[in-house]
């Protein structure tokens, strides 16, 4: 732990810091507050901080407007499958690049590195055409397929696999262990912190995805949460208290996960940041 110069001088937080922290949180408070107001109060001037006559009417409406169990099921199933596959494929390739010698190793790794620089936005058109050829448009399989691998994940796992001590590997080889056994019984357990960081990052990117679902999914029953939420607000008249009820429902599980995994989540974002 490094201590900065002012660590010892001012143990008390500045009031401004606290004030600004609450300013950052205020939009969330306003979202919840609005979701509990009736249509008249929500649009009232001057605005009321807390609902005078709290009502669950907006939640009732939003439950009628969207098929929530289906949306959560879609989002959860796509996310779980994609994250699991990303972890598995990344760990396997990471092991090979860190621990095995084979022909064209450097060239193949260069291809992984190069794809790290290709943003989804650039290949969205051919990707759509490809899914159309495969007859996977408007399906959860088509939605998830481009997210089952991540070159960044391979890069991350390779770094982690490099750190495994040689002695462990040599001991395993003497015991006659195959690479597949070494992968499962030595490499994977030793890399759990990196796997956890990668899992968090993958979860965020798949769970929150908007552009690709927007393009590949049309049917309401195939939609994920972000896509369905974005369709809640109409062209002209938007029932904002109802929309706020919808976003509140969508935020709560994520906020709970965040409260539990706060440290790991911040750490994984740093890991992603320091890849370069």
């Amino acid at each position: 732990m490094s201590k900065s110069a002012n660590t010892r001088k001012s143990p008390k937080p500045k009031y401004f810091t606290i004030f600004f922290g609450f300013v950052m949180l205020f939009p969330f408070f306003w979202m919840i507050s609005s979701s509990l107001k009736n249509g008249v109060e929500a649009f009232a001037t001057p605005p009321t901080l807390f609902p005078k006559h709290p009502t669950l009417e907006n939640y009732r409406h939003v439950f009628q407007a969207l098929d929530w169990p289906r949306l959560f099921l879609n989002s959860i199933s796509v996310t779980v499958v994609c994250v699991a596959l990303q972890l598995f494929t990344s760990a396997l390739a990471g092991y090979a690049f860190a621990r095995l010698n084979f022909r064209f190793k450097n060239i193949i790794f260069m291809i992984y590195l190069a794809t790290m620089m290709i943003p989804m936005q650039v290949i969205i058109v051919p990707l759509f055409i490809e899914m159309r050829q495969l007859n996977l448009i408007d399906s959860l399989v088509g939605l998830g397929l481009p997210s089952i691998v991540t070159a960044f994940g391979v890069f991350l796992m390779r770094q982690a696999m490099f750190a495994i001590p040689r002695e462990l590997e040599e001991a395993a080889v003497l015991d006659g262990a195959s690479h597949i056994r070494m992968f499962f019984s030595i490499a994977l357990p030793l890399c759990t912190p990196t796997l956890a960081a990668l899992a968090i990052l993958s979860f965020m990117s798949v769970w929150n995805a908007y552009l690709w679902p927007l393009i590949v999914i049309f049917s309401p029953e195939k939609m994920t949460l972000p896509l369905a939420l974005s369709n809640l607000h109409g062209e002209n008249l938007t029932d904002w208290p109802m929309v706020m009820a919808g976003t509140t429902i969508a935020v709560i599980p994520i906020a709970l996960i965040y409260l539990i995994l706060q440290k790991q989540i911040a750490q994984s974002f740093l890991t992603a940041g320091l890849k370069g």
């Binding site: 929500a42 990344s90 089952i148 607000h233 911040a266």
Partner: protein
């Protein structure tokens, strides 16, 4: 160990990621490059038109407008998110009771999806009955039309973007601040440097690696900005918030100009490559690794 055996094992380990990688990244990338030289409406087969798409896009007012809008967005977003992120990082770069909770407060928007952030702020900035305009009304000010107004729409999408990313910028700069050896600041303080001098002569110069990283990552991410803008304004009103990715989506999925949209994608890719290239070249010169 024979190389052949290793080779087979390696193939087993590599294939599960390499085949999808080829199918869903490499092949589409090559296809985008090839398609950018064709005209294709998805109905009849694509036909080769050479550089026609690229000649067209140089004079395409809507595309140039979307490029300018993207630059304006970044020019507004980056200083705000950096200045506020830096302020937060400096304020939270010390342990006090509840500093962890404070960091969490700044970070919660980062993990929220762009769609939710966009809807939330669209409501807050709603011209009639939205929080901001209602509050302004109380003190006797007639609020602007925000996302419904041509002149305020860009501001309306920049504010939520900065709010969401601030915590991430703070996190990166906090890591940078903690990498600075405290001896430097202490030595300067002993020599009689004021807090202000320590900040501007010691802390900020030593923070350049983190700053540089924040700027590069923001440029790369925000040349691709789309989600929050599409939800809040769909590029409007009158194209005032139409950005490059929005123009790609419109051309391909609204107009069916697959070849032309691919050409626009290649321009976007080129821009991102240039930013990355500049990063690699300038890293050594600009950055102060002690």
């Amino acid at each position: 160990m024979t190389s052949k055996r290793n080779g087979r094992t390696a193939a087993l380990f590599i294939a599960p990621s390499f085949i999808p990688l080829l199918a869903f990244f490499v092949l589409p990338m090559i296809a985008a490059a090839v398609l950018s030289f064709t005209s294709w409406d998805l109905l009849s087969p694509p036909h080769w038109i050479g550089f026609a798409n690229f000649k067209q896009l140089i004079h395409d007012k809507e595309f140039l407008h979307s490029l300018i809008n993207t630059l304006v967005f970044i020019a507004g977003y980056l200083p705000i998110v950096y200045f506020l992120g830096l302020s937060a990082a400096l304020a939270l770069n010390r342990k006090f009771k509840g500093s962890g909770a404070m960091r969490a407060m700044y970070f919660l928007p980062v993990i929220t999806s762009w769609v939710i952030v966009a809807l939330l702020w669209k409501w807050i900035l709603n011209p009639s009955g939205g929080l901001v305009n209602s509050a302004l009304h109380v003190i006797g000010i007639q609020g602007p039309g925000w996302w419904t107004s041509k002149s305020w729409s860009m501001v309306s999408v920049i504010i939520p973007s900065a709010w969401k990313d601030l915590g991430y910028v703070m996190l990166l700069l906090l890591a940078g601040l903690q990498a600075i050896p405290p001896e430097y600041q202490e030595a300067a303080a002993i020599d009689g440097a004021s807090k202000r001098q320590v900040l501007f002569k010691i802390t900020l110069p030593l923070l350049t690696p983190a700053t540089f990283f924040v700027v590069v990552i923001s440029l790369i991410n925000n040349f691709q900005v789309f989600d929050q803008i599409w939800v809040m304004t769909a590029g409007g009103p009158e194209g005032s918030t139409n950005v490059v990715v929005g123009e790609i989506v419109r051309n391909s999925f609204d107009y069916g100009h697959m070849g032309y949209a691919s050409a626009l994608s290649m321009v976007l890719f080129l821009i991102i490559m240039i930013v990355t290239g500049v990063q690699i070249r300038l890293q050594k010169r600009w950055v102060n690794y002690e």
